[in-house]
Structure formats: C-alpha cells, structure tokens
Amino acid sequence: MSTTSTTLEHTAPPSAGPRAFVQRLRQGDEVAHVITLTFAALILLITSLLVYELWINSHLSRTKFGLSFFWTQIWDPISGDFGALPFIYGTLVTSVVSLVIAVPLGLAAAIFLAELAPRRLSDGIAFLIDLLAAVPSVIYGLLGIFIVVPLMRTILGPALKAVLGDLPIFQGPNYGVGFLTAGIVLAIMIVPFIISVSREVLLTVPRDQREAALGLGATRWEATWKVVVPWARTGVMGSIFLALARALGETMAVTMVIGNDPKIKASLFAPGYTIAAVIANEFTEATGDLYLSSLIELGLVLFLMTFVLNGLARLLIIATDRGGGHPS
C-alpha cells in the first residue's frame, strides 16, 4: 500500500457505498446508450413520417387519377383536372440542359485543379468554389432575373438563333425566360458540386497510373483523358448523379426564370414549369383539396426521383472509394 502522507482510500468515496456508486456508473453507460439511440431513432421516425405524410396527403389525387397522372398534360385548376407530365418534362429538360453545360465545364475545371494546378493554387480555387456552392438559391434567382434573362433576350438568344436557328430546340419566340435560361442558371448552381467531388476523386487516382502513361510517351492531356479520368470514372459518374439530384430539386432560382407555363414545348426558348416551381408558386393559392393533393403528389414524385438518384450516386462514390474506381 502507499506509504505517502496523503494516502487515499481505495474504498468508498464520500457519498453512498461503493456498490451503489458503481451501480450508478454502470447505469450511466446504459442510460447514455438509450438516450443517444433514441435520438438516432428520431431521425428514422422523421423520415418515415415525411414519406407517410406525402403519401397520405396525396391520397385524393392518387386515387382519382391513378397512373394516368404521369402522362396527362393538362393542368387545369378550374376544372379540377391535373396531370404531372408538363412538370416532369420541364424538370427533366432543365436538368438535362444544366448537365450538358455543367458537366464538361465542371469536369474540365476539376481536371485542371487535380492534374495541372500546383497544390496551393488548386486548394485556393477549390476553397472559392466551395463558397460558390454556399450561395443561396434565391440569390442565383435574383441574378437570373436581372442579368441572365436580359442577356438571353438581347444577346444569347439571337446569337443561338443565328447560328443554330434551324434546330427545333432553338425556334420560336424568345422572351428571355424559359427552359434554356433556367438550364443555364441551374448549371451554374450545380457546377461547384461536380468540380468538388470530381476533383477529390481524381486526386485519389494513384500516381503510377499517370506516370505509366507519360512513360509511354503520352502527352499530359492524353494521360489525363485516357488513363486518369477513366480510372475515376465511377466517382465522376457519382458526382454527376449527385449534381443531377440537386438540379431536380432546385426551386427558387428556377421559379424565377422559367416563365411558369405548364406546357410542353420543343423549343428551349419557350417558358415552362418544373415540379418544384409549380409547388412553390401555387401551393398557397391552391383552392380545394384535389388541387392541394395534386401538388403534394408532385412533391412525392420529386422525392422519389431524388431518392433514387441520390442512392445511385452514393453507391457509385462508395464503389470508387473501395475499388479504386475501375470496374472489376
């Protein structure tokens, strides 16, 4: 035992007996486990409740329209006839347009950051791009209305018409708002995600891959495009899916520049509507339960679309982390 002058007791501390004290500690661990587990389960509860509420509150329209909801073009609150097709069309078109613009742009920038730029420059630019990702949607909308729309009306639109005016997608009147404008604004919003994730994925490609290609006499571009990017293929795909999922759900910026017209048109200059936009615009104006139910059903559709996409995206990104990106 200790021979020092300040001998400490090894038995009971001041309060209750040793057994009780120890019991309290034991229970403390159990209690902590239960409490934290409850909060974790709360997340499951919230999510299940979310799906449940979407399902229940869209009951009216689901039972009335059934599956025909998905291919009906009409959206007529007055006669109570609602169809999702114009919105699905608009959502898909604007998303595709945004991807067509953002993917090459984003991938190119990511390649620059991962392969060419010195590390510090790359980190600095990546930092700024992360900031870009933090800009609120409504701010993009603000800039969309006052800058992109006039730009489309006065310069971009006429330019495209002059060069590619024979294509059906570039025909018809151009008011500045429409699918193309929305697509452009969306593209700017999703490009930071593509760059961020792709850059990280490209950085994980092992050096020896690059060096092997260069050693065989490839130019830097060839090494990058033909060896490095394919290696990171799955992860890059994952980033694209993630960006697409975001594009589908974007509300404010799109609402402000798409023209809010539930019609299906071939021309990209035509005004359109997306699922998120119609919910944002008409939810508070919805008279009647069927109207509201239809809007909520649209919300359910949007939820499902993003759910599937996000799930796929995560799988792809996990696959990259594990398998080094190349298909096995």
Binding site: M1, S2, T3, T4, T6, T7, L8, H10, P13, P14, S15, P18, F21, V22, L25
Partner: protein
C-alpha cells in the same frame, strides 16, 4: 560418552539445518505473502485466434517486473489483461485466473480495478486540457473532492515533473515536450494512488535522456507501487527491473530475478533471445 557427544553434534547439525530450512521457508513464505498479482492458466483470444497460452506467473509486490520478448509474443496483450483494458476491444475472451491480492479481477468491478491498477501507454496521451486538469482528471471522475491541488502537486512530485511545471499548471498539456508529456501521464496515473502501475513500452517514443529519467522514476516509485513494464529494450529490462519474464509466441518461457535470468538463463530460447540471435 563419545557417542553421546556425537549424537549431540548430530542433533545440533540437525537443528541448524532445521533452522536454515525454516529461514528459507519463512523467507519464501514472506515472498509468498508479498505477491501482488497471481496469474494462473491464463488463455486469451482475439476472436478465434489465441494470443496467450496457459500463462502462470506471480508478480511480486513493490518490485519492478519486466516482460520481454520479440514483437507479437503477447506481452502487451498479457499486460492489458491485468487491468482489463482488452475489454474495450470487441470479440476478445479471457480464460483463467487473475488474482489481485487474492481477489479475482474478472469478477471485480472494472472501474474499481482500474483505480487500483493504473496504466501508462506507449505514446504519451495527455488529454487536450491543462496540465492541472490532466492530473486532476482521475481524481475528479472517481469522486474525490476536497484538496485537489495538494494531490495534484504530490502526484507531479512523484513523477519528478513538479519543478518543471509548477508555474504553468494552467497551460495546455500539449505545450510540454514528449518526455514531459509521458511523465505527465505517469503523474496522472499516480494521482489516484494505484497499487500497481502497468507500463506498456513507456519509453519507446522517447530519447535516451528522458528514458533514463523515467527509469530513475521507476526506481523511486517501486517502494510504494508495484510495477510491470513491457519493454523491447533488453538493456532497459536489465537496468531497471528486479524480476524479468520472457515470453515467446504467447507462452511464458522463463521467469526469474533479473540478474539471474540475464546471466544464467535456464531455457535455450531465453538465451537465444537475450544474446540477440533473434528478436
């Protein structure tokens, strides 16, 4: 008359022999009485893999016992069973008896056990708190209130760190050098006044000067504290310990007083290890 005196001297011889015998037994029974840990038939498993095989060992009280052996021989694993730290790893199993002063530690409350059996780790692991709070931590969580400052000072003195930090107790522990951090961890462990201190290669991350300081520390502490030290440094074992146990592939090969084990090892494998033929 000659036979009587012969008988007398024979009797005297016998008595003397008896006395020497009893001396020996009292000496050895004294040694028996001052055994701190008694380990019998210890088997340890990581999942399906067995790491310690049928280990039997008595660790004497208030002495320094060194555990030596090549990497992977199970010495750290064994050390960690003594304060049940292996229970923090999933899927481990302990079989056998480990008695601390006659009590089965596997049936004891683990928190109580760890107050009596402290541990110092391979790399210094001070908490991201002040020096004072580090030493006081064990005291606070074990419910000791009252004159913490005195106890903190006392522990830091026992760890030979007081003079270096007495004016900077509120500073972060990370402001200290590696050797000082390790002594801080020793002070932290000593603060709850453990009966046993387990040291798992405490000097492997430190320079020779600091190592010497810590060995000196161990020498001063052992009167009040039984110590078991795992070390891969045989010179350290030879210098700093009273008893040494040599392990190989999870088995205890030999255990003896340090001087005897290093000069006249009984087992050829011990000799091979000590002379550096493998390691």
């Amino acid at each position: 008359m000659a036979s009587a005196s012969q008988g007398n001297s024979a009797a005297a011889e016998q008595v003397a022999r008896q006395m020497r015998l009893s001396e020996k037994t009292s000496a050895s029974s004294g040694k028996e009485a001052s055994v701190r840990f008694e380990i019998a038939d210890l088997n340890f498993y990581y999942g399906a893999k067995q790491a310690v095989f049928g280990l039997n060992l008595k660790i004497p009280k208030n002495k320094v016992t060194a555990l030596i052996g090549p990497s992977g021989c199970g010495k750290s694993t064994f050390l960690r069973t003594l304060n049940r730290m292996n229970e923090t790893i999933r899927n481990t199993r302990v079989e056998g008896q480990i008695l601390l002063d006659g009590q089965q530690i596997l049936q004891m409350d683990v928190v109580k056990l760890r107050r009596r059996v402290g541990m110092v780790f391979q790399r210094p692991n001070p908490f991201p708190k002040s020096i004072y709070d580090n030493v006081a931590y064990g005291l606070r969580i074990n419910g000791y209130h009252g004159r913490l400052s005195d106890l903190v000072e006392h522990s830091l003195k026992r760890a030979a760190l007081w003079d270096e930090v007495k004016d900077a107790l509120h500073k972060s522990a990370f402001a200290l050098s590696g050797g000082q951090q390790q002594r801080l961890c020793i002070a932290r462990a000593l603060a709850v006044d453990p009966e046993v201190l387990l040291l798992d290669e405490p000097c492997s991350a430190l320079d020779p000067v600091t190592t010497a300081k810590i060995e000196e520390l161990m020498f001063q502490l052992k009167d009040s504290c039984t110590m078991v030290i795992v070390t891969h440094n045989m010179q350290q074992a030879a210098r700093a310990s009273d008893f040494t146990a040599f392990m190989l592939d999870g088995k205890l090969i030999e255990h003896n007083e340090t001087s005897k084990l290093f000069t006249t090892p009984q087992d050829p494998r011990t000799e091979a290890y000590i002379t550096g033929r493998f390691g």
